[in-house]
């Protein structure tokens, strides 16, 4: 019977975890219990912790590179279509050691952060408004998802109409691509705030802004953070499209560079840019994870 096994299993684990630490003073107890003492050990052995988070990544990387190299060696496709890692990595290195590249990164990241911040601001206000006013929800609730599904490129005509060709046109494309996602995350978070909390807020006399500030926003934060993450993805993709709208003298944005790499049918360069975009995406995700972990710790969802 599954139930039986499971319980006895865990109890056995408890029994096994017993050690010699009996009878120590409270803050001396350390034992072998992983969950219990994780934070303490962490301080002691930061290196170990980093290693624990790094080895799976390195392994995954090694596997991908292995498959890639194998595909190359097996001559699955001609090498000008699928260049081997040994060719691409030097190319990537050459790329990222140019000042030009970093100027492009700076330009693109500036746009991404500006656009995303704007999208978050607008999306938050929109989400809060839609979830608060029933007629607004009926009017534009579904439109939000509709807007999300619009390919960025279809906003180009409108962007040009409204903003000519300029940074603002890019920002417009980014914001209209990402804000609905942020709004949707917030709306779904608000919709799932447990009723008990809402009632607590009501007896406390919360209303209007105070209610949002002290109850709704913190309570819907998990879903909101996940909405932000999706919003980031949307804003980045919209930006990659939007950057083709405007060229700024001096620095060539990542979006343009990616497009060029493809236009030139330069497989090595395309793969290099894919890696660059993935690394940026991974780094940003780590930021979100920081926020998320802090949140889960506060909420008592981690550890023992």
């Amino acid at each position: 019977m599954p139930a039986e096994t499971a319980v006895s299993d865990s109890t056995t684990a408890a029994t096994n975890a017993v050690t010699l630490t009996k009878g120590r003073a409270a803050n001396e107890v350390s034992g072998l219990d992983a969950l219990e003492t994780a934070p303490q050990r962490d301080k002691g052995r930061l290196g170990l912790r980093i290693w624990a988070s790094a080895w799976p990544k390195l392994l995954a990387l090694a596997i991908v590179i292995g498959i890639w190299e194998a595909a190359y060696l097996a001559e699955w496709r001609p090498s000008y279509l699928l260049p081997p890692p040994t060719e691409v990595f030097p190319q990537l290195w050459d790329l990222i050691t140019t000042a030009d590249f970093w100027n492009g990164i700076r330009l693109t990241m500036t746009r991404a952060i500006t656009g995303f911040s704007l999208a978050v601001a607008i999306g938050t206000v929109l989400g809060a408004a839609v979830s608060r006013f029933a007629p607004l929800r009926a009017a534009i609730g579904s439109l939000i998802t509709g807007l999300q599904t619009m390919p960025s490129i279809m906003w180009f005509p409108l962007a040009i109409l409204l903003f000519q060709l300029g940074e603002k046109a890019i920002l417009f494309v980014v914001v209209i691509g990402a804000a609905p996602s942020v709004a949707n995350g917030l709306i779904s978070g608000i919709d799932y705030v447990p009723r008990t909390w809402l009632r607590v807020g009501q007896v406390m006399g919360m209303s209007g802004l105070a209610k949002y500030r002290h109850l709704i926003l913190p309570a819907s934060l998990p879903s909101f953070v996940s909405g932000l993450k999706q919003g980031w993805a949307f804003s980045w993709r919209s930006l990659m499209a939007g950057e083709l709208l405007v060229m700024v003298p001096g620095a060539v944005s990542i979006g343009v560079r990616m497009q060029n790499a493809r236009d030139l049918t330069d497989s090595g360069l395309v793969i290099s840019y894919i890696m660059v975009v993935l690394v940026i995406g991974i780094l940003i995700d780590q930021l979100f994870n920081f926020a998320d972990n802090a949140l889960r710790k506060r909420w008592g969802l981690t550890g023992n």
């Binding site: 319980v7 975890a17 409270a26 034992g31 934070p39 023992n304």
Partner: protein, 258 residues
């Protein structure tokens, strides 16, 4: 005549807790919740735990259930099936009342008809037959607690851990459930570890009443209850022993407070 007396053998411990300590957190934030608790529970025994708020009763139950890991000591339950009725009802909001009760039955692989029948029986036991299709949020606090009881009983375990199961019930409903619980315990030869704040309830139900000290929890007294069953909660014997235990408890709290 208690089950304890009929079984007789005191070495047949189902739950063996020896010198168990439990610390939450670590470093300067560490909190010693249980301090070298030792306690053996025999097969078929009904043991009640009493203690001040925050003394570690729930912690002890969750250790026995294998939900948390002990910091030091030995804990054995010999591979028996354990059911735990939590202090909060913790029903699943996406399931109806029957759905919640049927879930453990489903996990045991029972067929649909059988499940339905058993769930009906259990809801009858907790006097909630009319509410089978309601959702948890449509129940009152006491009703939720009773559904949680039915769900725990549905697990068909050998050892039943109960954390203040009747805290939100009125005296009458409580009396009824005392009788039902006693009947089931006897019929299925369950081993019960029962946390309560109601000393009379402890004396009404238990073969033994264990007193825990305030933070950190430690066993300070073990009262065997010898009165013949069935007992009545308002009988003079129960009241008398309850008064005795209350005095002892009060003394402990006073000692601690000073």
């Amino acid at each position: 005549m208690s089950i304890l007396e009929t079984t007789g053998v005191r070495t047949d411990a189902v739950v063996r807790i020896e010198n168990v300590s439990k610390t939450y957190g670590s470093g300067s934030n560490a909190l010693l919740a249980l301090d070298r608790v030792s306690l053996d529970v025999e097969k078929g025994e009904f043991v009640c735990l009493l203690g001040a708020s925050g003394c570690g009763k729930s912690t002890l139950l969750s250790l026995v259930a294998g939900l948390d890991q002990i910091s030091s000591g030995t804990l054995e339950i010999g591979g028996r099936k354990v059911a735990l009725m939590f202090q909060e009802a913790a029903l699943f909001p996406w399931l109806s009342v029957t759905g919640n009760v049927e879930l453990p039955l489903r996990l045991q692989g029972l067929g649909k008809a059988e499940r339905r029948k058993r769930a009906e029986e259990l809801l009858e036991v907790v006097r909630l037959n009319g509410f089978a299709d309601k959702r948890p949020h449509e129940l009152s606090g006491g009703m939720r607690q009773r559904v949680a009881l039915a769900r725990a009983l549905a697990q068909n375990a050998d050892v039943l851990l109960m954390d203040e199961p009747f805290g939100a019930l009125d005296a009458m409903t409580r009396d009824i459930l005392h009788d039902e619980l006693e009947r089931i315990w006897r019929e299925q030869n369950l081993t019960v570890l029962f946390v309560t704040h109601n000393v009379r309830e402890a004396v009404r139900l238990g073969d033994r009443v264990i007193l825990l000290s305030s933070r950190p929890g430690r066993v300070i007294e073990d009262f065997p209850i010898q009165h013949a069953r069935p007992r009545r909660i308002d009988s003079p014997e129960v009241s008398g022993q309850a008064a005795e235990i209350t005095d002892r408890l009060r003394a402990e709290v006073a000692r601690h407070a000073s």
